[in-house]
Amino acid sequence: MSKDDQAKPATARTDADRRRFFGDVIRGVSALACIGLPLGLLAKRSAARPAEAIRPPGAGAEDDFLAACVRYGLCVRDCPYDTLRLAHVEEPVAAGTPFFIARDVPCEMCEDIPCVAACPTGALSKELTKIDDARMGTAVIVGHETCLNYQGLRCDVCYRICPLIGEAITLERQANLRTGKHALFIPVVHSDKCTGCGKCEKACVLEEAAIKVLPTKIATGELGAHYRWGWVEKQKAGKSLLNRDILDLPDRRPGGGS
């Protein structure tokens, strides 16, 4: 035990004591800044979650999720399919937080959403009552050059395994220009329906899945806020919004001149 730890009578405090006290405080605070700053950096880095690590249903934006989740793992315990697990310290997902890798074990979309029911902090929002409303991510066909259906084969596995068959993934028929006489059945993901459960990614027959669940923003892209689709606006208005009187393009004819 050092002498500093022994209580001194209050009257013995002198200017020297006071000076030493402030010196100690400054030294302590500086030393801790050396810990705090790297810790802050670590926190920032951990917020950058790899795209293949998917949060459970009801998780909000990553920042909100990391503030809310206390990492106690009841969502993991109550997951009947052992889909969810807690990140180990050495993994690139924030230590102790729940996630799943769709290609390993996808979300089975339980109707009673036990993971959300188990969460005590609201990190998984109780506002999610219908699992079809979950948005864990959005599936996207990333392998146009490898997807069997894109080559004209009838694999259709992602389409058939989808819990929202015919809604979240549809098969759109196109002409097969390679053969000139067959059809392509192109799987198309509809982001307004896709829950990001990852069953399609798990089921994809390729060595590396051609369809992957990604964070929605990465998967779908995002339109500039000022953009308007002309045909949508036309439908909303019930008529063409072009004013023919104002819009008068020059008539060009062969032979020069206008």
């Binding site: 302590g28 802050g40 670590l42 503030a67 206390v70 230590a95 902090t121």
Partner: protein, 296 residues
């Protein structure tokens, strides 16, 4: 280099081995029992307690949450659901009764590591090593909350060895063993009682509760003290003993009032003169103290 005198040797002679290790044995039983409650589910499918030390649900009924982690969440600007608030309130109330840092001595899994380190340290007769101020942990605590506030996440939970190791034991260790090894080596070779005694912000937090908690170790029969110093040698926070044991001169009552005391009860064990016992902070057995030191 080896220590010639066995700490608590006199107590073993006077009281018998069992009585001279009573609180140590009770403490180990408690630590392993609590760990066992968490592990029966994952190991044997018998679910008594689900979750981990951060937050848990017992018999699908009783929620318990760690107020230290919850406080970080509040600093990260997240208001938790009622379940977590109730759980944290129960835990707070519990430690306000049994002593704040009773958490450290009876529950925390890292205590097993640092106690082992302290034992090895004593047996090897090593020097104390780096000894930062005991108050350093409060700066660390402040830093933890500041980091949560600035980053908006539970930043310290990325490093907190207590929650990492306990979560590891229940959910799979991964590299969490690294934290165990690091703390053991640190406490043996870098700083005696380094982690729990000087740095751990979780201990600091529970220590704040200990400042007002009900159950305290007391040196009621301090008149019997034969200055063998065994209690000081065994105590992980020896500075807390002085005011109570030697307090007759300074007008301090026999209650160990410092929140840093972990209520581990080892002082009771190793004392051959039965100076110490557990009691309440407020009960009326404080003998009138002659304040002779006040004027000099």
């Amino acid at each position: 280099m080896a220590v010639t005198k066995v700490i608590g040797g006199d107590a073993i002679k006077r009281k018998g081995w069992l009585k001279a290790n009573k609180w140590l044995i009770l403490r180990r039983i408690t630590q392993f029992a609590i760990l066992g409650l968490f592990l029966t589910g994952p190991l044997f499918g018998v679910w008594i307690v689900k979750g981990n030390l951060t937050s848990s649900l017992t018999f699908d009924l009783l929620p318990l949450s760690d107020p230290f982690v919850l406080l970080q969440g509040l600093f990260a600007r997240h208001w938790p659901e009622t379940t977590a608030l109730i759980g944290a309130t129960i835990v707070l109330a519990g430690y306000l009764i049994v002593g704040g840092r009773a958490y450290c001595a009876f529950v925390c899994p890292i205590n097993l590591v640092t106690d082992a380190a302290a034992l090895v340290h004593r047996r090897l007769g090593l020097k104390k090593g780096w000894q930062p101020k005991r108050a350093t942990r409060f700066y660390v605590l402040a830093m933890v909350m500041a980091t949560a506030l600035v980053s908006g996440t539970l930043a310290y939970e990325l490093l907190n060895p207590v929650t990492i190791v306990h979560r590891g034991l229940v959910f799979g260790m991964g590299w969490a063993w690294g934290a165990v090894v690091a703390i053991f080596l640190f406490d043996v070779f870098v700083a005696m009682h380094g982690w729990c005694g000087h740095l751990c912000p979780m201990g600091a937090f529970y220590g704040l509760l200990g400042e007002v908690s009900l159950v305290r170790a007391r040196a009621d029969d301090r008149a019997n003290c034969n200055d063998c110093l065994d209690c000081f040698a065994i105590c992980p926070e020896p500075q807390v003993i002085t005011p109570a044991l030697r307090g007759e001169k300074t007008g301090h009552g026999p209650v160990i009032t410092s929140g840093a005391c972990t209520n581990c009860g080892r002082c009771i064990d190793v004392c051959s003169e039965n100076v110490f016992r557990f009691g309440l902070r407020f009960d009326g057995t404080v003998e009138p103290v002659i304040k002779e030191g006040a004027t000099s």
